[in-house]
């Protein structure tokens, strides 16, 4: 009885869907049956996962954080600028992650201290962080600090800060056996977040806040602190994504990740998190993110253009949500019918 519950879970459905997808893609193009190729192709979407996994926690609290896409650029450009200033690239990496944490804390502060919709707050910071990332190199240039590397400001505007050390580039080029480092890091990140969400009091608080913030407040949940941490994790994840992209593209840019908003939120929502709060799992987001990522890779390999893929992903998001809503309505209907008939029986 107990194990059948797992078979009926949304995550299991996603898992089956992922296997099916890989099977179909593999039949069309045998490249997808090659494990090394398959894992290597995850490099194109690990940044989505890095950002989407902690965003799940935020969405569980009935919040949202759309500023992540800007934090990616901000973290990337921070890393580049700190490195250009002569600091070791791994220290620069740590500074970039710290910037992500601070950005998240900034969001969390406003979200937890006011009753303003998180969408508005993170919309404000989306603009603010993007603006900071775009403006910083030019500002430093004005101050006489050649912040854009040896190639000059014009070259910077074209290709970002390049010439990053090999040791840093190796972070995304290297692999443990056939598993690329970034994917390994994503799995580890997912494991940590999963334990945090499902095995700690903090995680339970997130659900409680999402389901009923008033009840949470009356039962003594430190709502403000919990919310700040949720947004901090989201900022940290986005910064990780920015760092990963910087290494992958071998250049630090302010506009990295600008078009990632749609896939990130799609992954979380398809993963089973309710945008109204109170439900969602890390495993679901991870699986949904992989389904979307491989789908994209598969369609690209089939020669489908990027534009059409955008249409497909958008439609998929809507259809999945519509199906879920209709199933929900049907489920309620059945419950009511059952309640009625059991009443008649008595």
């Amino acid at each position: 009885m107990k194990w059948t519950r797992y078979l009926r879970s949304w995550e299991f459905a996603l898992f089956v869907l992922l296997l099916l997808e890989l099977a179909v893609l593999g039949l069309v193009n045998p490249v997808f049956f090659n494990l090394e190729n398959l894992l290597y192709s995850t490099l194109d979407f690990t940044h989505i996962l890095f950002a989407a996994l902690p965003l799940t926690l935020v969405i569980i609290t009935a919040g949202i954080d759309i500023s992540g896409v800007s934090v990616m650029g901000l973290a990337s450009i921070t890393l580049g600028l700190v490195w250009v200033a002569g600091v070791n690239v791994f220290v620069a990496l740590a500074v970039a992650l710290l910037v992500g944490v601070l950005a998240g804390a900034f969001n969390g502060f406003f979200v937890s201290r006011t009753d303003v919709n998180p969408l508005v707050i993170t919309l404000g910071t989306l603009f603010m962080f993007a603006g900071l990332a775009q403006g910083m190199p030019a500002l430093l240039d004005k101050l006489g600090f050649k912040a854009y590397g040896s190639a000059g400001l014009a070259a910077y505007q074209y290709e970002g800060i390049t010439g990053l050390p090999d040791a840093f580039i190796a972070l995304t080029e290297g692999s443990l056996g056939v598993v690329p480092y970034p994917f390994l890091a994503v799995l580890f990140f997912a494991l940590v977040l999963s334990l945090l969400l499902h095995k700690t009091r903090f995680g339970r608080y997130l659900y409680l806040i999402g389901v009923n913030p008033k009840a949470a407040a009356y039962s003594g949940v430190p709502i403000r602190r919990v919310l700040v941490w949720a947004y901090v994790l989201s900022g940290f994840g986005a910064a990780l994504a920015g760092v990963m992209l910087t290494s992958y593209f071998t250049s630090a840019r302010a506009d990295l990740g600008g078009d990632a908003l749609l896939p990130i939120i799609t992954a979380v929502v398809l993963g089973g998190a309710d945008i109204l709060g109170g439900s969602g799992t890390i495993l679901g987001t991870l699986l949904a993110g992989m389904i979307l990522g491989f789908l994209r890779q598969g369609l690209l390999a089939l020669g489908v253009t990027n534009d059409l893929i955008q249409v497909v992903v958008g439609s998929l998001l809507i259809l999945a949500m519509a199906a879920k809503q209709l199933l929900h309505v049907y489920g309620e209907y059945r419950l009511k019918r059952k309640a009625l008939s059991s009443k008649d029986g008595r």
């Binding site: 603010m128 993007a130 603006g131 749609l262 893929i309 955008q310």
Partner: protein, 327 residues
């Protein structure tokens, strides 16, 4: 002072006037009629998109696809024009395309019951993709002179499109204030269950809101296509977020049921004016986003503090009143 602080429109207008004066002091050129008209002219696209977005936000929804809808409508406009359609027919086709795109959002939200942000995020991808599929990814250039002409018309030194937008704004303001059907937007956004129990057509009201957002986005597309004379693939990119920011700035509450068209328009004007002011102050354009973000945060935070303070005052007054009554 209190009623002034209570109205977000007044607060933002005050802030706008203040910024204009400060900018004017630094750079007197800013006070020339030309620069003022230029700011109005530049704000039209955002004003129109924000007006449409306002209806959706009033019903407590959100539409993040309006920028993409405007882009799609612009592509329809450009393509039909280059096929040799007369301007009127092409403009009608663009409006139809925008309205249809809005209606698709409306259908998903009201009948498929997809949460608004998910539905419109999905269609954001779909409409942007369609744009590129229709054009094959290249810009639409060599548009006939007939579409660029209206941008040159002017009356009393003010461009035709500014008059047109003002007229639309006045109409919207009048309708939302005086017409019963338009009040449904407020009722549904303020209390959906209550509106339903009163017998209001809740779903159709929401349907109308998303559809109108599409129509207004298409109107914006016609204006900016006429202004710049070509359609780029990034047309109106990011305007969905700016339109939401404009509404929030102008006092249209995301919790639904609160806000006016004038507020939304002032918010949009403000965001555009910030851009022009930075240029007049000699700050590079790349700082635009940072300033827009900071201003948005400051305004919503100040607004929150003012509201909390007023609420506290009201409660204290009530407690004093109750105590007096009991004694």
């Amino acid at each position: 002072m209190k009623p002034l602080l209570r109205s977000r429109e007044a607060l933002v207008t005050l802030l706008l006037v203040l910024l204009v004066v400060v900018t004017g002091l630094f750079n007197p050129n800013f006070f020339k009629p030309d620069s003022i008209v230029e700011i109005f002219n530049a704000s039209l696209t955002l004003v129109l998109i924000s007006l449409g977005e306002m209806f959706v936000i009033l019903t407590r929804g959100i539409d993040v696809s309006v920028g993409a809808t405007a882009g799609l409508a612009a592509v329809v406009l450009g393509t039909t024009l280059n096929l040799g359609w007369p301007v009127g027919a092409a403009a009608l086709a663009a409006v139809a395309a925008g309205t249809l795109a809005g209606a698709l959002n409306a259908f998903g939200v009201t009948f498929l019951r997809v949460p608004p942000i998910i539905m419109t995020l999905g269609t954001l991808g779909i409409y942007r993709g369609l744009m590129r599929i229709i054009t094959g990814g290249s810009w639409i250039e060599n548009l006939p002179q007939s579409i660029k002409e209206p941008n040159l018309w002017s009356f009393l030194g003010v461009p035709f499109f500014v008059w047109l937008t003002l007229a639309l704004l006045a109409l919207t303001a009048f309708v939302t204030l005086r017409v019963r059907l338009a009040r449904y937007f407020y009722a549904v956004g303020d209390n959906e269950a209550g509106a339903y129990l009163l017998g209001l057509p809740v779903r159709w009201t929401q349907f109308a809101a998303y559809t109108l957002a599409g129509t207004f986005a298409a109107l914006a597309a016609i204006v900016f296509t006429s202004q710049i004379g070509f359609v780029s693939m990034n047309a109106a990119d990011g305007f969905e977020l700016k339109a939401i920011a404009a509404n929030v700035l102008g006092g249209v509450s995301l919790t639904g049921g609160v806000g006016t068209p004038v507020g939304a328009a002032i918010g949009a004007l403000f965001l555009t004016a910030v851009h022009s002011m930075l240029i007049f102050l000699g700050v590079p354009g790349i700082w635009d986003n940072a300033f827009a973000g900071i201003i948005l945060l400051v305004v919503v935070y100040v607004d929150y503090r003012v509201r909390s303070a007023l609420e506290l005052q009201r409660r204290q007054a009530r407690i004093r009143g109750d105590a007096g009554g009991g004694a």
